[in-house]
């Protein structure tokens, strides 16, 4: 009796999160000799877990949780095995399965065998899980996580030797020409700490052929000003080496297809393995999904896994921030820990504390760079290119056409119906029979939006957008916009709201023109409306 009340007291402390190690030890001792107490603890913990989930970040409503739990209890063991193999088992069902297994340890081996077999079937059937695909991905990761570090060490050793030679031979470094690529390759992966010394070595190898172009300036803002002697060539060619950008924004395209923007004032170095080290400034990198692209590095921080769209803010002396706009990847502290970074997550590498700290997602510093990467080549009038992660709704952008990149690259699963539009003529938006989208291949989708002014008489809003790629479809009818939401993978949070019932252009009032070369879209939208104006623009990427 006494031990029962003691167990209750210990359990209570444990469940309320106050249990010391001593209490836990005592509770474990009691439970080891009392099966019913052990079972009670399991049940209580399971319930605690359900409570935690019900009030946590991924909270589901109480009713939903109840029905999930009830459903999980009703699923037979074989069904839970099946769901575990399929990988679509809920957390409640996992707990239920764990309970089954705890009570029947003999079944554990059977489940493990099934899981392993399921994995092998996947590997045998799916091309994306083949040995080649696995090894290719492993090689990329190994290059990113291991090989470059050895290069840094090798280079430091070599550098020390070369510098001592410089001292002995009146600052002349004689190197066989065939060494050049090796030295440049090493330099390309050298850490910031040896940067100054690396420059000295470059001076010493002036007699060697100039390093090759590794990237090209594809776009720049009008106010760009470079400092120093090492600047991009007249044709935009960017060779290996350091660059100082006093002001403006430039976009570079690397040979591997990766794109990068840098906003001045900035000091950065381009290397011959598509690595860019940003010592100061704001930079963004866009890589093709699942391909190796540009590797961004900065003070104290490097991107360890290629990310489709990532930014680095290295303006502070004390910290560097990394932010993922699209896809997932990883970042590492120099010579330290690494962590995954998911879409719309941001971290700060604190140089004093040598650690990565989570920070709020704030894309504003990257707005300029994003304008160059968004695929909108030129825009005139009241236009705002919205950053990735901006919800497609707003109340403070009245009188301004917002441009959202809805989907960077996708291939529509079903035939998309677009509005008929005659190129080269301004015409009112009209009811039309529509047409099936003819384009095949990868598309990018933009949503242009003018927020309503709730009936307050406003001026006509004019906007002009020139895209990097050919426009293959325009959707401005309300129904077609709704029908195509799913295909482009967008989510409109205000569907069904009063102002959004007719979300396309106002038929007979708003005007639209697509240029003959299908690159430029001009809009004349009437202000003072009650409903949001939206136009979906589809461009062909290949």
């Amino acid at each position: 009796m006494e031990s029962n009340s003691r167990a209750e007291a210990l359990l209570s402390e444990f469940l309320s999160g106050d249990a010391s190690e001593e209490v836990l030890r005592e509770l474990a001792d009691l439970a080891s000799g009392d099966a019913s107490l052990a079972s009670r603890i399991r049940t209580e913990l399971e319930f605690s877990e359900m409570l935690r989930q019900s009030i946590g970040e991924d909270a589901t409503g109480g009713d939903v949780l109840f029905f999930q739990s009830k459903a999980a209890f009703e699923v037979p063991k074989s069904g839970l095995f099946e769901k575990a193999c399929d990988g679509d088992i809920s957390s409640v069902e996992c707990d239920q399965l764990a309970k089954f297994l705890f009570d029947s340890p003999g079944e554990v081996a059977s489940l493990k065998k099934r899981l392993a077999e399921d994995e092998w079937i996947r590997e045998a059937v799916s091309g994306s899980r083949s040995e080649e695909a696995f090894i290719e991905a492993l090689e990329t990761r190994m290059w990113a996580e291991t090989v470059r570090d050895h290069f840094v060490e090798d280079f430091q050793d070599r550098l020390e030797r070369e510098i001592s030679v410089v001292g002995e031979a009146d600052n002349i470094v004689e190197m066989p020409v065939s060494w050049t690529p090796t030295v440049l390759k090493m330099a390309a992966v050298a850490a910031a700490v040896v940067f100054g010394a690396f420059m000295m070595t470059q001076v010493g190898v002036n007699g060697l052929p100039a390093s090759n172009s590794v990237a090209t300036v594809t776009k720049s803002s009008a106010d760009v000003k470079w400092l120093g002697e090492h600047v991009p060539g007249a044709d935009g060619e960017v060779s290996v080496g350091p660059y100082e950008l006093e002001r403006g924004i430039v976009a570079l395209k690397f040979a591997n297809g990766g794109e990068m923007t840098v906003e001045g004032p900035a000091l950065f170095e381009v290397k011959d393995d598509a690595t860019a080290h940003v010592y100061h400034g704001v930079a963004m990198a866009r890589n093709k999904p699942f391909k190796s692209g540009i590797t961004l590095k900065s003070n104290g921080l490097s991107v360890s896994e290629p990310v489709p769209l990532i930014g680095i803010d290295a303006r502070s002396e004390f910290s560097t921030e990394a932010i993922v706009f699209e896809g997932d990847g990883g970042v590492c502290l120099d010579g330290g820990s690494c962590r995954s970074l998911f879409e719309f997550e941001a971290v700060k590498a604190d140089r004093n504390r040598d650690r990565l700290v989570d920070i709020p997602y704030n894309p504003q510093p990257f707005l300029g760079g994003w304008e160059l990467l968004s695929g909108v080549e030129k825009n005139l009038g009241s236009v705002r290119i919205e950053m990735p992660g901006t919800t497609i709704e707003s109340t403070d952008r009245e009188g301004e056409v917002q441009v959202f990149v809805e989907n960077e690259s996708f291939r529509p699963e079903a035939d998309l119906e677009v509005d008929q539009i005659r190129t080269g003529h301004f015409a009112s938006a009209e009811l039309n029979p529509g047409q099936a989208l003819q384009a095949r291949g990868d598309l990018r989708s933009y949503l242009l939006q003018l927020w309503p002014t709730n009936g307050v008489e406003g001026e006509e809003v004019e906007a002009s957008l020139t895209f990097d790629h050919e426009v293959v479809g325009v959707i401005y009818s309300s129904d077609r916009l709704t029908d195509s939401d799913l295909s482009v993978g967008t989510s409109i949070p205000h569907v069904g709201a009063e102002f959004n019932k007719e979300r396309g252009l106002d038929l007979g009032r708003d005007e639209i023109l697509l240029s003959d070369d299908r690159r430029t879209l001009n809009l004349k939208l009437k202000g003072g409306e009650l409903e949001v104006d939206q136009i979906r623009v589809l461009v062909a990427l290949n």
């Binding site: 877990e49 946590g56 970040e57 991924d58 099946e82 575990a84 399929d86 990988g87 679509d88 088992i89 957390s91 996992c94 707990d95 399965l97 764990a98 309970k99 297994l101 705890f102 340890p105 554990v108 081996a109 489940l111 493990k112 065998k113 899981l115 392993a116 077999e117 399921d118 994995e119 092998w120 079937i121 996947r122 590997e123 045998a124 059937v125 799916s126 091309g127 994306s128 899980r129 040995e131 696995f134 090894i135 991905a137 492993l138 990761r141 190994m142 996580e145 291991t146 050895h150 962590r339 995954s340 998911f342």
Partner: protein
């Protein structure tokens, strides 16, 4: 690390990747993250290759590394976890230790098992193969497959189960018959 060691390592990757992936999955790792965890285990192994005693079984060493990685997953916060559930992984880990025969059985001969399975898959009737591809290549759920094949979802689950059972038997038979070479 010299070139020979690196080449040997690549050979080990080819030899052990299938077994390791099966082993990782058997510890309750989310199917979408299996390759990621397995690759991480290879990278850890590569970085510690100097510590590896060549007299020992490389596959078992790799599995020990992977096991530790999975244990670490339990300490991560929920959104970064690569396992389906802490509880399930705990139970699966509890019966898995370095000296455990059953563990060796799952991880060992992975490549041979995979090759046997490939041969078995190639012999499947057309409809079974389509069903299998829809599930494992296109990652469709039983409900989606039911729509595609105009079947009921429970019937899809049963059909998939039958295919799996027949593949398991076929694989075991082929393994018993002798070494299986990689099919084209």
């Amino acid at each position: 690390m010299d070139r020979t060691t690196q080449e040997l390592f690549v050979e080990q990757v080819r030899e052990h990747h299938a077994g390791l992936r099966g082993f990782v999955r058997a510890l309750g790792v989310d199917p979408l993250w299996v390759d990621d965890v397995a690759q991480e285990a290879f990278i850890v192994a590569y970085n510690r290759l100097e510590e590896f005693d060549r007299e020992r079984d490389f596959g078992a060493w790799l599995r020990g590394i992977a096991r530790n990685l999975v244990i670490n997953e339990r300490r991560k916060d929920a959104r970064r976890k690569r396992i389906l559930s802490d509880n399930l992984t705990d139970v699966l880990l509890s019966s898995s230790s370095a000296s455990d025969h059953e563990e060796e059985e799952i991880g060992d001969n992975g490549l041979a098992k995979l090759n046997a399975l490939r041969a078995c898959v190639a012999d499947l009737p057309e409809k079974s193969l389509r069903l299998l591809r829809s599930r494992y290549e296109d990652e469709n759920s039983a409900l989606d497959i039911a729509d595609e094949f105009e079947m009921k979802a429970p019937a899809v689950r049963k059909a998939l189960e039958r295919v799996r059972v027949s593949l398991r038997k076929c694989m075991e038979k082929r393994l018993e018959a002798g070494p299986v070479t990689e099919s084209a």
